[in-house]
């Protein structure tokens, strides 16, 4: 195979990915926009309230451009989007991008830390459960994973708060940081862990960690349950394969068989699973964010949806959609690196 040909394949793959990306995002915008216009809530009423006089209603409706046909509205919105203008949220009176700049880092931070915890705990547990299939160890792990998977986050969050915050006083309560520090830390990245360290305020950092323990524990458990189950089943498949038997017969140490041979082979699908779990957390967990008064993007979109704040809903959906697609593409690329078989296509 000549270099020119390889280059062509790489270029074509890149072009494919870019085209997929653009089309998906465009589809996402059109669908969200149209659904938003067919909500049973009147966006004008949502802004001016229930009792505003009729003349105010009419004036607001015209100011919002809602008197125009839907395709005109969509075209205008898309046009503004191309210039990087996501519009203004009617509820916060701020540009949607500014709002997202405040809400998204909160979700990003929570999702990232939770995912790291989930991977560090979940992957080894899954591997061990597969190796020790049908022992008590396996059963315990499967039950824990089942609980993590099936107990409602809402309930778990409230019980967690009651036990660890209200009774035992081990962790801080709802919110991202104690009020005492809340407005003394300059927001640089929007991620409280990093901002408090940048400010060199260790007490504030501890406060942030204390506030994060519960939500991270709960989202981490939820993600971990999924990762553990998938790791276990991937590993079981590999461990029953002939090459593993061969390796064992050859007298390789068990650790080497499990980690170097079997585990190496599940790396690619596992990356996809982890990426999916991460993307899920990134789209924001509305219930967790509600219970822990966590100003994240899930809460932002939901509240905006209930108030028919369409610019905010669209902006939030686009940002999350782009993250989702980007993570998937990244997982895809990583998969190609980890698994030679995927490189051929």
């Amino acid at each position: 195979m000549g270099y020119a040909h390889r280059g062509w394949i790489v270029a074509r793959t890149g072009l494919d990915l870019a085209l997929t990306f653009v089309l998906t995002v465009a589809g996402l915008i059109v669908i969200t926009f149209v659904i938003g216009r067919f909500l049973p809530t009147d966006p004008v009423v949502a802004i001016i309230g229930d009792r505003a006089p009729h003349d105010v209603y009419v004036a607001t409706r015209i100011a919002m451009g809602l008197d125009k046909p839907i395709w005109v509205q969509l075209a205008r919105y898309a046009g503004r989007l191309l210039t990087g203008d996501f519009g203004t949220s009617v509820l916060s009176s701020q540009p949607v991008l500014d709002d997202l700049g405040r809400f998204f880092p909160a979700t990003l931070e929570l999702a990232t830390v939770s995912s790291v915890v989930a991977v560090i705990v979940g992957v080894p547990l899954g591997v061990v459960a597969a190796v020790k299939e049908r022992t008590w160890f396996d059963h315990v792990i499967r039950v824990v994973a089942l609980i993590g998977y099936s107990v409602p986050v809402f309930w778990l969050g409230l019980v967690g708060l009651l036990v660890f915050y209200a009774r035992l006083d081990w962790v801080a309560g709802p919110g991202r940081i104690d009020i005492a520090y809340q407005y003394s830390i300059p927001p640089v990245t929007g991620m409280a862990l990093i901002d408090t360290l940048l400010a060199g305020d260790l007490d504030a950092f501890r406060s942030v960690v204390s506030h994060m323990l519960l939500p991270v524990g709960i989202l981490g458990l939820y993600s971990m349950a999924y990762i553990t189950r998938m790791t276990r089943s991937f590993m079981l498949e590999q461990l029953s394969a002939e090459y593993v038997t061969t390796a064992r017969v050859k007298g390789l140490r068990e650790g080497r068989v499990v980690w170097r041979h079997a585990f190496a082979n599940i790396a690619a699908p596992l990356v996809t699973v982890i990426a999916l779990a991460y993307a899920n957390l990134l789209s924001g967990s509305v219930l967790t964010e509600t219970i822990f008064a966590w100003p994240g993007v899930g809460l932002y979109i939901t509240q905006s949806l209930f108030s028919a704040d369409l610019n905010a809903v669209l902006g939030g959906t686009i940002v999350i959609g782009v993250c989702y697609i980007a993570i998937n593409l990244l997982a895809d690329a990583l998969g190609r690196v980890l698994d030679p078989r995927m490189r051929a296509t």
């Binding site: 049973p40 009729h54 003349d55 916060s92 547990l125 591997v127 406060s207 204390s210 209930f306």
Partner: protein
């Protein structure tokens, strides 16, 4: 133990140990001594510009950030007193009021508040004409005539002219509303864009002479206020107030229980009941002007019959609901003016009487009842009240189908007048009986394009005579006579027509014991913080 397992187990133990070391020791009760932390659902805030503020949370905030022309002594809300103005005289024809501006009021910039600021503030409300603009434009003020009717001959004097000789109590009460807040005209002029009177700038900021200034508003997160040392009633003891957005009532309860919040504002009746024995907490309650009423749209034939309308009034278990799930957060109220306000009725003639209601339905031609769709908010206490009504109406043969929807969706349906029957709430826009009387007892045109949309209009209830009585009350100079007229209008709407009132709110809040001096007041926008103190816990 095979190597793999051992390694994994060691890894887990290590991670666990690291996590334990990270666990910070939690100091006890955590809010700083000079900061008041309020756990509240503040997602209703749409704007902080007093020309636009019309929601509960924002109304409360601007009441502590601006001085209104007229205000109240927190010790006695029955009598309005001078705020940004200290005295006034009325012309013989009753149409022109001359106000003397209070000395010693200072804006955040340090500049003294003068008459031109008042003129600018009232004028911008009329010209911008946002949602609450009608409160001032009902005086006949328009963008065109404002310059002639709202004037400042010198720094200490404001002269306001009205299109009619309104009842003096009406005018003074109106000038105690949020739209009568005084803004800093120089600051706003410097932030003006396209003749918007600084609206775009002020929406998220403050420019007032009140006890506090707005430092931060992060929508759906928090509002932070900072004390103004120059406040004319004295420097507030609390330096900083943080309204923390906590949507979940359970989370609010935990925060105030642990001392991470000083006041919890939206607890349920059950939660307040459960906290009653806590030694660290205190309770405060105040009768509010908010009422819950039932409305019957006159587009649905059975609901137009006077006897059917009366039957409904005998089919609500008022006392039963108040004594059970409403647990003191709402009390029975059958007239639309609430406890403590002038004109409030003392009697409540209706109670649950199924036999009587059945008799009325039979006389109206519905011995077997009829089907009825009731649309309600999907939140407490509306769902519970609706379920109770469903049961009692059912006993008389009215078969209720409950449709529970999100608030904004219900509003959309009601504004479009597509409902059959709904539960709704009302709270007057300003502390004068006219606000509520007009809502319940005024409609001279039920067409879709009618100029004024009141509750009567929303239910296609045409009442020219009652509307005239309501209009006349506005011009009655004798306050006692005026109050008597409102009593009469209340009895008329209570005993006939498609609108009937069920309950009045009694706001209950939970505070840490070391917090004192917080006053709720009767209305959504009357709470004041400038006297609030916090002892060391």
């Amino acid at each position: 133990m095979p190597n793999t397992t051992r390694r994994a187990v060691f890894g887990l133990v290590g991670a666990g140990a690291a996590a334990t070391m990270l666990r910070p020791g939690r100091a006890a009760a955590a809010t700083p001594a000079d900061t008041l932390v309020i756990a509240k659902n503040i997602d209703d805030i749409l704007s902080l510009d007093p020309a636009e503020v019309y929601e509960f949370s924002s109304g409360e905030i601007i009441n502590n950030v601006y001085d209104r022309l007229i205000t109240f002594d927190p010790a006695d809300y029955s009598k309005p007193v001078g705020g940004a103005v200290e005295s006034w005289t009325v012309s013989p024809d009753g149409r022109t009021y001359t106000f003397k501006v209070r000395k010693g009021l200072k804006f955040g910039t340090g500049r003294a508040l003068v008459a031109k600021d008042i003129v600018y503030s009232l004028t911008r409300v009329v010209v911008l004409n946002k949602t609450p603009g009608f409160i001032l434009t009902q005086f006949g003020w328009t963008a065109q005539n404002a310059a002639d009717l709202i004037k400042a001959p010198d720094d200490d004097t404001v002269v306001l002219t009205f299109d009619k000789a309104y009842a003096p109590s009406f005018i003074i009460n109106i000038l105690s509303a949020g739209v009568a807040s005084v803004v800093d005209s120089e600051v706003l002029t410097s932030h003006e864009a396209n003749g918007d009177y600084g609206y775009a700038w002020l929406k998220t900021r403050s420019a007032g002479s009140g006890a506090y200034r707005i430092v931060t508003w992060n929508a759906k997160q928090a509002v932070v206020l900072e004390a103004a040392s120059s406040y004319w009633r004295g420097t507030p003891p609390i330096k900083r107030i943080v309204f923390n957005h906590v949507a979940e009532a359970t989370a609010q309860r935990l925060l105030v229980e642990k001392g991470d919040a000083d006041i919890a504002r939206d607890l349920t009746a059950d939660q307040i009941h459960a906290l009653a024995s806590s030694p660290a907490l205190a309770f405060q309650s105040a009768p509010k002007t908010t009422i819950i009423y039932f409305q019957l749209n006159q587009t649905y034939e059975p609901l137009t019959k006077p006897k059917v309308q009366e039957a409904f009034r005998w089919l609500a278990d008022y006392q039963g609901m108040a004594d059970s799930f409403l647990k003191g957060q709402y009390g029975v109220r059958e007239g639309f003016i609430t406890t403590g306000l002038p004109g409030a009725l003392t009697e409540a003639p209706y109670h649950l009487d199924v036999a009587k209601a059945k008799q009325l339905l039979t006389e109206a031609g519905y011995p077997n009842g009829f089907d009825l769709e009731v649309t309600v908010f999907n939140t407490a206490p509306y769902t519970q009240i609706a379920q109770s009504l469903q049961a009692t109406l059912g006993q008389a043969g009215i078969r209720v189908k409950l449709t529970q929807l999100d608030k904004a969706e219900v509003f959309t349906i009601i504004r479009a007048r597509k409902h059959q029957a709904t539960l709704a709430y009302w709270s007057p826009d300003y502390l004068d009986d006219n606000s509520t009387a007009n809502w319940f007892g005024w409609c001279t045109d039920i067409a879709d394009n009618a100029k004024t949309h009141t509750a009567a209009w929303r239910n296609h209830w045409l009442i020219p005579e009652l509307s005239k009585e309501t209009d006349d009350a506005l011009l009655e100079p004798d306050t006692a006579k005026r109050n008597a007229t409102y009593e009469d209008i209340q009895r008329k709407t209570r005993d006939s027509g498609p609108l009937f009132v069920l309950f009045e709110q009694n706001e209950q809040i939970v505070l840490r014991k070391n917090v004192t001096g917080f006053v709720l007041g009767p209305s959504f926008d009357t709470p004041v913080y400038w006297q609030t103190k916090k002892a060391r816990a």
